[in-house]
Structures are given as structure tokens and as C-alpha cells.
Symmetry: none
Subunit: 186 residues, 4 copies
């Protein structure tokens, strides 16, 4: 159903291996790590990496898209919960805790504002919409303060993830969650 014919089974597998290796390597040693290194980690030749991702930039973007897709899916799933407030805070905490690697949510989210025109654009919109819905529900339920909008939430997700790099425990996250609660919710 996609417009490109599906990849052969082995190609599919290699693409996935490259993506996984890239996530690991870039997280562990920074995105400045060479593509050669990524290839080595994936157990393939450099050529294979470039066959699947025509440039390093494209590989990085694929990683971002993958990360954001998970966030969007997660937001949508939480939006189905009957308890809108808990759903929002659960989602927020889980997302921040999930960005445990160095190629953080931070870097993924960075793309949301920075390249609004390229391959990341569709997924960016997806994330924004899913998040907006989740937020609105929680605000209507009186759990989240009304003076924040989606952009603020995204910024705070990035901020909380960043904070986690310095203090990997939950304290900073808790502070931010508390800051988000509606005053009456105390």
C-alpha cells in the first residue's frame, strides 16, 4: 500500500539493524560519531547504511521520526483513558523517563521547531495534535493549569528530559509536574 515496493526481507532486516545500531551508537558516543562506526555496530558495510539512508542527515532524521512516532502513539493511547488528568501526567512522566539515552527526546523535539519543512514535518504535526488533545482533556478535567498550551508542554518535555541528564532521578520531573497542576487541584 506504500508507494515504494516493500523491501526484500533481508533489506528490511538490515534497515532495522542500522537504525537500532545508530540509535545506540549516537546515544552512547554522540551524533558526531562516524557513519563507519554505525555500520560497524550494525554489522554491515558503510555502503549499506548509505543505501538505506542517503545521507547522515537522513539517518538522523529517521531516528527522530521514529522517536516522535512513539511519542505520538503514546499520547494517543493515553488520550483514551477515562481519567484525563492522570493520563496527562502519566504520559508526561513516562515520556521523560523513556528518553534515557543521550540522543534524547530533547534532540528529537528540537526538530519540531527547527526544520518544519522537511521529512520531520508530518510527524511533528502528528505529535502536536495528539498532545493538544491530551492536554485539552486534562485542562477540562481541571487537572492541568489552563494558562499553558501545547507549545509550552513540548518545551517542558524537552526541559524535563534535559534536566534528567544532570539529575537522573525523578525529583526535577516531579517539580515540573507539580508546576503544571491546576491550583485548585491541590
Amino acid at each position: 500500500m506504500t508507494n515504494a515496493r516493500p523491501l526484500r526481507a533481508d533489506a528490511q532486516r538490515n534497515r532495522a539493524r542500522v537504525l537500532a545500531a545508530a540509535e545506540w551508537v549516537f546515544a552512547e558516543r554522540g551524533t558526531a560519531t562516524s557513519t563507519e562506526e554505525v555500520a560497524r555496530a550494525a554489522g554491515v558495510g558503510v555502503g549499506t547504511v548509505f543505501r538505506h539512508f542517503p545521507s547522515k542527515e537522513a539517518l538522523l532524521q529517521a531516528l527522530v521520526v521514529q522517536r516522535l512516532a512513539r511519542v505520538a502513539a503514546d499520547a494517543r493511547e493515553h488520550a483514551t483513558s477515562p481519567n484525563a488528568g492522570a493520563a496527562f501526567f502519566d504520559f508526561f512522566a513516562a515520556t521523560v523517563r523513556g528518553s534515557a539515552t543521550k540522543l534524547e527526546l530533547v534532540d528529537a523535539l528540537a526538530e519540531l521547531g527547527i526544520h518544519p519543512d522537511d521529512a520531520v514535518a508530518p510527524i511533528a504535526e502528528e505529535v502536536t495534535e495528539a498532545l493538544a488533545a491530551l492536554l485539552q482533556q486534562a485542562q477540562r478535567a481541571g487537572s492541568v493549569r489552563r494558562d499553558v498550551d501545547v507549545r509550552d508542554v513540548i518545551a517542558l518535555l524537552a526541559g524535563a528530559s534535559q534536566a534528567r541528564r544532570y539529575a537522573p532521578d525523578d525529583r526535577p520531573l516531579d517539580v515540573i509536574l507539580d508546576g503544571l497542576r491546576a491550583p485548585s487541584a491541590h
Copy 2:
């Protein structure tokens, strides 16, 4: 007190120009920008940059030290205020708002946790101490919740600065400040 003889006046001036140019250039175009570019922006030859900073890493660290020195000084100054609570929050907000350039406080703070052993160590300790004092006063005054420590505050400074990249207004910052307030302070 320095172990090197004082620099000649012109050398002193060149060092400062390089530092300023580096801050500007790295902020504007990323730390991957070449040293050549920094030299050009400073109006000196590359050789001069390397004479003052033996490696690019060293230049980056000097920038971090400079940034953190300002933060430490600022913390110490606020610590003299009679109103400990307001002083803490003022300091926090001012620090985050001041990290408006792209070579953010984030990157500076990154060094606090990441390279605790090198040239950055002394200033890191300085910042930590000044911050600890300011925090303790504010907690004793009942303005800041008691379950956060210096490390959390540093993490949240980094987080709030990061958030500012996505939503350059004050909303995310306000959320975090609210999260930091002692419950009874409402």
C-alpha cells in the same frame, strides 16, 4: 596568584577578542564551526587562537568557565538580599532568561556533570557552593520546597534553559518556578 606571568596588554586584548568572537560564532552557528571561522570573526589569525587556547576543547571550556563564573557571581550577589525567597526566584529567572544565546547555559551546565575533573572543576564547585547557599536560605525562609537539593536546582536550571529554546516566552519558566515553591508559600 596566577602561575603565568601576566600577558602583555595586546595579548590580553586578543585573548578577550577571541573569547568574545567564539561565544558569538559558536552560539550563532554551532560549536562545530571551524576554529578558522572563529579566528576570522575575532580578526586574528588561527595561530593566535591556538596560542591562547591550546585546543578547541580548551577554548570551549574557557567559554564554559566564563559563563559559569557569571552565574556564580550572580548567585553570590543574590545571596546578600534580605528577602531570601525572592532572591532565589529572581536569580533563577534571571539566569534562565540570560541564557538567551544558543550556546546556552545548558551547554555550560553540561560540563558540571560531565567533566568534573578538568579545568572546569574549580568553577563548578564555586557555582555549586554559591547556589547551595542561596537555596538553603530560601528553603529556611519557607519559600522553596525542602525536598530539592543543589543538584536538582542545577538540573532544573538546565531544563528551564532548554525549554526556552522551544518556547522563548516565560511560560515554561513560570511553571518550573511554581513547581519549586514550598506548598505553604501559596
Copy 3:
């Protein structure tokens, strides 16, 4: 007479398609164009190209051989004409005009002098012989000056083809033809 068994009909067709595609692609975009590109133009996989031509070099040579074979055939045909002088000049002009693609006669002829030992050798000899016959007839008929030999004619064919790249009209060709006429022929 060939030492390999005849190709299956579809294989035969594929070989021809590759050859045609290669001529077109190399002419249009230079011989540095990738084999992948040639395969795409031929509507086959790269593997197929390499099955028929064991290396890119071999593919290029096959093209040259094909080109030279046409020249030799043409020369032989003109040699049957009753008017030896006209036959020679007609042949010369037609050959030069026919090298209208970018993978010119020039490049084909280049092989005559450059790789005298490989796959091109037989056809090179064929061309030389056919040309020698045509030339001799024209010289005997008093139409072509006697102080040029086959090698000179080949060089001039290459030269005239080259000239056509810069001035695609007939003027340079006419000049060369005039230069070849026997003095008494005026």
C-alpha cells in the same frame, strides 16, 4: 565460429538493450556515469549488465567494437562504388557526420592506438584494412593526395569528429576534405 553457445532469445535481447542504453547514457552524460544508471536506462538490474559484460571496461569496449564495426562495414561498402574519389569523400563525410553523439568516433578511434592488444585488436585491423583499400583506390583515381596514409586518414577522421564538437556545422569538415584533395583535382 563463436566459442560460446548461442544465447537464449531473452538474454540476447537483454544484451542488446544494455548496449543501446549504454551508448545513449554514456553519450548523454559521460562515461563516468555509473553502471547502475546504465542498468536503469536499460530496464534491467545491475547484475544483468555484469552478466553480459564482466566489467565496465568490457562494456565500453563492446561499444567501441560496435562503432568500429559499422565504420568498417561502411568503408567496405563504399569501396564497391565505381567512382573511387567520390566514394572516399562520401565515406569520410558520412562517418564524421554520423559521430553525432558524444561518445564519438573520437573515443572509439582512441582505442585503436591505445589498446592494440585486447578485444579491440581484430576490429581495429578490419577498419584499417577496409580504409586502406578505399584510400588506395581514391589515390589511384587521382582524387586524394598521395602523401597521406591510412594512419593519417584515421587521425583526420578523429580530428574532424572532434572539430564537430565545437562547430557542429560542416565548415570544419569541408576544410579537411579540401585539404585531402589531390592538387591536380582542382
Copy 4:
């Protein structure tokens, strides 16, 4: 007086060495030879080559410009001769004989028609003008046929140079020169 400050003496020398080495290497082994090889031949590092010529393309163009500059100068010099006819033919023969390397005049002239918009444009015009003057004089003197124009002459220079690759003696050149003579000149 040039808009760039003159190079330091050693830089000047290295630039010249690179240019000379490039001419030699490309002539001997084709323009596909790696820049690394050129650097080795010049006795410098690759970096030096790229400092002087920002891309391989630029290096090739510099070679072309150098070659064409010589041709233009030569044309202008011959144009001062009292015997216009002899001057033209002398120039033509000398130019063709001078393109003895494989990175021929052919390749240099190729640029005349192919990249009319880049760094080669000014020198291309220079060559054309100098040649036009020389040609016109020779035509007025009744030595060169009147139905050829500058473009034809350039094409024939390229053609004659190409011919020389196959028959390195003077015969093909003589044929072309004869073809250029005015009919009455016999």
C-alpha cells in the same frame, strides 16, 4: 593592484608547483587521477592543493585558464607580424604542436563552448578576440579562405590537436593547413 593581497612567497611557489604537477599528472594519467596523487607529485599534502584550489573542478579550470592564456598571448604576438598569412599559419601550427601533452588543447578548448558562464569565460573571450584579429588579417591578406570564421578555426585547432594523438607527425596538420588556404593562394 589585484583585489586579493599577493600570496606569500612560499605560498606562491607551492601554488605553482601544484599547478605544474597537476598538468603533468593529469596529462600522463588522465584527469580521473586522484587529487592525492597530484599532491604527491607536487610534494605537498592534499590540504595544500585544496587550499589553493577549493575543488578538483577549480584545479582543472585553473589549468585550462593557464593553457588558454598562453594561446591568447601567442595569438596576439603573431598578430604583430608584418606577414599576416605566415603569422596565421605559424600560430596555428605552433599551437597544435605545443599541445603535446595528453591534457590537450582539446580539453582546454572544450571549455570554450561548454562552460561559458564560469571562471573560464573571460579568458575564452580573450582567446576568441585575439584569434579573430589574427584570422581577419590573414583573410584580408588573401592567405586564408574567407568562408571560415573564428569558431571554425577554434574547432579546427581542437581537431588538429586531436588528430595529433593518433599520428604524432605533421601530416594531418599539413592537410588541415592546406585546407585553410585561400584557393588563389596556390
